[in-house]
């Protein structure tokens, strides 16, 4: 019962945090608010009986990815001081976006809400790290491999693209 209550609170927090995040002029602030949202989500995951996922949410998203964002933002010195009007949309521009978003939201919710997946009879569910790991490394071993390959080549690509020095002796592509 408490859990349900907490869920709604957390949900509210997540939405609000996101709302603020996506409207900040300053990317740094946006990232910070987003981290809040992710924490909230992590807790929701925990409540839904996915402790591992919750942990990873915190570690990977809030920890790794967002920090990476911060790092890049810092590195490129993208502070709002550099002509904020250039990057950030005004309310006028937000308006149609919101209209579309709301329209979509309404449609989707109506559609998804149409068949009621009520929680009755669904017991609390708790995925222990053991059986999590078990199925992960039994059924999904191959998937793990693929994901690892992905990461490897992503790294390669990132390295290649991000290589600082331009190649010598190659004329700039004319077109």
């Amino acid at each position: 019962m408490i859990a349900t209550l907490i869920f709604y609170i957390l949900g509210a927090i997540a939405v609000i945090a996101t709302l603020i995040a996506i409207t900040r002029r300053n990317p740094v602030h946006a990232v910070i608010y987003l981290v809040n949202c992710f924490f909230a989500l992590a807790l929701i995951f925990y409540l839904l009986g996915a402790p591992l996922v919750a942990a990873w949410e915190v570690i990977i998203y809030a920890g790794a990815i967002m920090v990476l964002f911060l790092f890049i933002i810092m590195m490129l010195r993208l502070s709002p001081t550099t002509d904020p009007s250039r990057y950030s949309p005004r309310w006028v521009q937000w308006l149609p976006v919101l209209l579309i978003a709301i329209a979509l939201a309404v449609c989707t919710m109506l559609l998804t809400g149409m068949d009621n997946l009520s929680a009755e009879g669904v017991p609390r569910w708790y995925a222990s790290p053991r059986d999590f790991g078990y199925s992960l490394f039994h059924e999904y071993a191959l998937a793990i491999e693929i994901a690892s390959f992905q990461l490897l080549f992503a790294a390669v690509g990132a390295f290649y693209v991000g290589k600082p020095e331009a190649l010598r002796g190659v004329k700039e592509e004319g077109r």
Partner: protein, 101 residues
């Protein structure tokens, strides 16, 4: 299950569309990427909820893969950001409309 699945879906949808709104509204590449992150998180939420609803674990496992994928994608995207910043000294997507028609 603590809440009806429907509510979870509603929450997820809201988050997803907020992310989408962010992507549409912003011209700043970083913010666009952030929006994408938001959308992906909404997906994670759905998956976790679904796995709780169906009492099956593979939903959560899918979340793991998504995280891996996300991090890979983010690394590339940020590298791209750096690259673009270096080339054009701008990460405003409005500056990238050389090809058209």
């Amino acid at each position: 299950m603590i809440v009806p699945m429907g509510h979870l879906l509603i929450l997820a949808t809201i988050l997803f569309l907020l992310g989408l709104a962010c992507v549409i509204a912003w011209r700043n590449l970083i913010m666009i990427l952030i929006g994408i992150e938001v959308m992906l998180n909404a997906v994670c939420l759905t998956l976790v909820g679904a796995s709780a609803y169906w009492q099956r674990i593979d939903g959560q496992i899918m979340v793991i893969f998504m995280m891996a994928m996300t991090s890979a994608e983010v690394s590339i995207s940020l590298a791209m950001v750096v690259y673009l910043q270096r080339r054009k000294n701008s990460i405003d997507i409005r500056d990238f409309d050389e090809m058209r028609g």
